[in-house]
Symmetry: C3
Subunit: 171 residues, 3 copies
Amino acid sequence: MNASVLRNAKLDEAELRALKSEIEDFNWDYGDVLDGNRLGEWPNFFTEDAFYRIRSRENADADMPVGLVHCEGRPMMVDRVFALMHTEMFEPRYYRHVIGTARVLDVTAQGVISARANYALYETILDQDTRLMQAGQYVDEFVRAGGRLLLKRRECIYDSTIVHTALIYPV
Amino acid sequence: MNASVLRNAKLDEAELRALKSEIEDFNWDYGDVLDGNRLGEWPNFFTEDAFYRIRSRENADADMPVGLVHCEGRPMMVDRVFALMHTEMFEPRYYRHVIGTARVLDVTAQGVISARANYALYETILDQDTRLMQAGQYVDEFVRAGGRLLLKRRECIYDSTIVHTALIYPV
Amino acid sequence: MNASVLRNAKLDEAELRALKSEIEDFNWDYGDVLDGNRLGEWPNFFTEDAFYRIRSRENADADMPVGLVHCEGRPMMVDRVFALMHTEMFEPRYYRHVIGTARVLDVTAQGVISARANYALYETILDQDTRLMQAGQYVDEFVRAGGRLLLKRRECIYDSTIVHTALIYPV
C-alpha cells in the first residue's frame, strides 16, 4: 500500500492533471450507472479481458485472493448483470456513491494507468435510515481504447469486517 | 437519469476541465456558507429567477413534483432565509457537506451548463453522535453572469425515505 | 469562517486550478498514509516548524485554543508517532479518509497558500460495523519547499461533540 511514493515520470504535470480530471469523470459516471440502477451499462466500463474483484481489506492485506465478487473478463460481468437483472431476491434499495478525488500513481510505457480513489457507498432501504454500506478504495488500472478510458482492472477494497447483505451487486 | 451518455460537444476538453474545477469551487463555497450558518449569503448563489427544490429520490423517479422545499425565484429564498434566521424552533446543530467531484454533462448554445455532484450531509446535534443526515445528488443548471457562475436551477435529490427533522434548512 | 469571500488575486485562474489539483493529490496521499497505517511517514507532510491541531468545532467557534491533539513543530509529531508505534493500547481498527475537493482561498506574497477541504473519516473495528468517526474540515496553510508542498499549519476541525475513542491517532 505504498501508494504515495510512486510518482509518475512519463507525463508532464499538465497531462497528469488532465488525466486526474478525466478519471474523476469516469468514476462519477461509473457510480451514476450503478446508483441509477442501469446495470446493463456497467460492463461497458471495462476492457474485454478486465479483472474485477470486491475484496475485504483484511484479505487484501493478507494477500488472500478470496473476494465477494470475482470476474475475469467482460463476459463474466455480462453474465452477472444478466443474473442480477432477472433475479429480485432482495428488497428494493437505493445506492449512492460519494467518490473522492482520483489519484494517478503511475503510467507505464505501455500506457497502463494506475490510479486510486476512496469511496463511501450509502444504501437506503425503503422505510429505513440511509446508512453507510461500505467505505473503501478503488485500486485501478486504466487503458485508453478508441480515445476513451476503460478499466483493465478494478479492485474494490472495502473496510468492513461485517457484510450485511448478500452484496451481489457491483460496487 | 441517463447522465453518462450526455456528452458536451461545444467546449474543448481543457475548457470542460476548467469548468469542472470552477463548479467544484462553487459547490465548496455553497456548502461552506450553509455549514458555517451564514444563511443570509445562500440566495447569492442563485439567479433572480432560479428554481430550488429538495425532493426525495422516490418522488423524482416517479416524476412527482412534490418536494420538501420548493422555491421559485430568489425572493422566495430570501424570505425563507429571513424566516429561518428569526425562528429558533429546533436544537442547535452543526452541518457538514462532503461533496464529491463535479460532473459537467452539457453546455447549451445559450450557455446553460448542466452539471451534477453527489453529496453526503452530516449533522451533529449537541451531545449526540455525528450522523449522516442525507446522501444525495445536486442536479444543477448554471449560467454565467458578470463573470461568475450562478445557479439557475438546483435540485437536491435525497435518497432517504425517512426524514427525521423538520428539514426546513437548505441543503 | 468567512471563507467564501476571500479570493485570490495573485495567481491566474489556470495556476489556481493547478494548485487545487496538486493539493487534492497531497490530501489523498496524506489520507492514504494514515489509512495505510504508515504512521512514520506522517511528519513528512509538514515543515520543520509546522503547527498541527485537532480541535472541536465548538472550541474553534469559541476561539478556545484547547485541542485533542496539539503539536508545535515536526519533532513533536515524530515523538507522537514514535509513541503511537510503540503502544498498542487500543483494538486494531481500520481508518478510511474520504476527502472532498480542495478549495484554495488565498496565496500571500510570501507564498503561503491558505486552503481548506472537508473530510469524512470512517473507522472499522473488527467485527463491528464501519462507522463515521469524524466529519470535519482541514484548515490549512501550505508552503512550497524544494518543489513540493508542505503543510506549515493544519488544523482538523471536527464537528462531533462526543468523542468515543482515545483518539490519539492523527487525522
